[in-house]
Symmetry: C2
Subunit: 369 residues, 2 copies
């Protein structure tokens, strides 16, 4: 992380609940981290609360305070971000703090695992989406003009660079190998993905031959230029429209999927629908020096403050955070506890058809750690 | 149409099978049009064969011949387009002929109805997607540079204009009213959508506040500036990522959905997955002067030439073509025949789990006209 841990295993995590249900699910994730059994190798946590979000903007005129960034850089080894509300119309001076955070901390890959829980009655899938996290239309270079007829015309730049595409591609191939290694430790019956690890490259180069052409070529190059390292990983590709179609028809056909920023955003919400709720899907915004865990869901203002939010996505995001900080065993413990609660299927929030509160689900997970 | 019919009810249709299964499904659609009972008010068809496609490009160096465009403009009142193959890597000088056709003929709205057939066991939905068809990233203004480190950086322009957004929006609100009128003639039990007609605006203005902001504002303006005309139509909105999620969770929550070009492309493939096959979903590329029917599926090179292609999407596209040319009764006859065959569920192609050939399905539909 940016800030080096002062004593071994001491880990400082920045907590940024931001808006809406972020304020319920981030405390839930914190409780789970604090409830982890304290082994020799497991981390000792310190948490610091940090501000950001649309509500913060409304009160103080800034969505991502300088202090939040400075303390993340100066004091933290990782962070958890809740969710951010989107104003329904343009608000002068406001810009999404999570998009800004990804950029400022150079969190270049958004890692989004979507997997069904065996025995839970969900559609069977075990997919990892790697979303390029720094460019595409998210560079937010936009302009507006008035044409000769007095009509408005707006433009946005979509940027695809060799540099960013290669980093995202490398992450995808490395994660494919890592997942394969992990799977090989499982009994055959618990492996959903049975084949050789595979990376599927998503693009739309039949229309965007230059930008998505560069993306496609560069990600392919990761394997083609490292034939030995990645000999064990298959590679294929899907146009983004076909990807959404196939993902719904045969989600079991995908292992690791790597996509430019906007396609990755859309695909991961689609994949969440397959496992039954956005409230289940975690992500990690990963850079070379820092990781920010972030549930894929939004701030859900309609249910905020009512103990109805599903804490699983945030809790799994805390697991991803640990995993990417090098504490794989502790992460695995969290995943296992969550899967246990989901498989049992008794204690669940309303998004999954249950009646339990955020706190009850969190407690149930903590009890299984 | 561009070419005015010489004698009343004489209609000249350009047939552009293009690549792959386009060569099987376009003849199927033609057979259905020719099999329509000849009533007083129904059209008398003439068909002319026109070239386009990737294979044509490979042989003759041009994907959309000048002659095809000239004959569409000079002789036809409408057209049917099959499907086009996409080369998997950039081919110098090649550019998608369907994207070019939409642009040259100013076919500004792509109308994509996706509905389940009552009694067919499909998920229940009855949705009409209006996809803006002329701009967004499809303007294909792209450039590539080399940066100071010798790395490539590519950019694409995304264009959103007030003019194009308004036309697409107007189409959406008008279609919402028209669908409502049509539904009111059906018995209650056959209406899937029971509420007030609704237009859902898809955007991503939380990130693209200027381009998608202009889109959102302009489409909203269609209703806000015509409060009387559209008083009967509800309006709401969805971020594109949430749209894909919600569409899979509650497809019954949508009536008319209007989206910028690329989002519309992705959403319509997603919706196709909900009704069981891309082979069922038709579209019409609609302008003020011309209509081109086009199945939403691709050229499917893996099954081309084997009589395995589902002709339903192309046949329904022929129905949409008639509908938009003012022959609603003949269109309705086609839809009803198709629904009858699907509901019966005996004669179906492999994509729907059947063993029938393209020809058998086509014949079954013709027999019900
Ligand atoms: C809130 C929004 C800016 C964000 C995004 O589009 O990246 C969200 O949808 C996500 O997926 O994290
Ligand atoms: C073939 C391709 C250029 C086309 C598109 O993206 O518009 C297709 O996917 C469609 O939906 O008609």
């Amino acid at each position: 992380g940016f800030a080096t841990a002062a004593q071994s295993n001491k880990v400082t995590i920045g907590l940024i609940p931001a808006d809406g249900i972020g304020r319920e699910v981030i405390p839930a994730a914190r409780q789970v981290l604090e409830s982890l059994p304290k082994t020799e190798s497991s981390p000792r946590f310190e948490f610091i609360h940090l501000d950001a979000g649309f509500e913060h903007f409304q009160k103080h005129g800034v969505a991502l305070p300088e202090e939040t960034l400075a303390r993340l850089r100066g004091e933290c080894q990782g962070a958890l971000f809740g969710a951010v509300s989107s104003p329904s119309h343009k608000v002068a001076g406001y810009s999404s703090p999570i998009v800004a955070l990804r950029k400022h901390l150079d969190l270049y890959a958004n890692v989004r695992p979507v997997a069904s829980v065996a025995g839970s009655g969900q559609k069977q899938l075990d997919m990892l989406i790697i979303r390029e996290n720094t460019e595409c239309l998210y560079i937010k270079q936009e302009r507006i003009e008035t044409d000769a007829n007095g009509q408005k015309v707006a433009y946005a730049d979509r940027k695809i660079s060799e540099f960013a595409s290669r980093r995202a591609g490398q992450m995808a191939f490395n994660m494919a190998l890592m997942r394969d290694k992990l799977r090989s430790t499982l009994p055959e019956s618990e492996r959903l993905w049975k084949g050789k690890p595979k990376v599927t490259i998503v693009h739309k180069s039949n229309v965007l031959s230059i930008t998505d052409g560069l993306w496609r070529e560069t990600v392919r190059g990761v394997k083609e230029n490292n034939p030995t390292a990645y000999a064990g990983v298959d590679m294929d590709e899907q146009l983004v429209d076909s990807m959404v179609y196939r993902m719904f028809r045969e989600p079991e056909a995908f292992d690791v999927v790597v996509a430019p920023n906007l396609y990755g955003d859309i695909i991961s919400d689609g994949a969440a629908a397959l496992v039954g709720s956005l409230g289940l899907v975690p992500s990690a915004n990963v850079g070379d020096h820092f990781v920010v865990g972030e549930p894929v869901h939004g701030s859900a203002p309609d249910i905020a403050g009512q103990q109805k939010a599903n804490p699983v996505a945030a809790i799994r995001s805390a697991g991803l955070l640990l995993e990417h900080m090098g504490y794989a065993a502790d992460a695995a413990r969290i995943y296992k506890a969550v899967d246990g609660v989901l498989r049992e299927g008794q204690i669940k929030t309303p998004d999954l058809g249950g009646k339990s509160t955020t706190q009850e689900v969190t407690d149930a997970i903590c009890n299984r750690l």
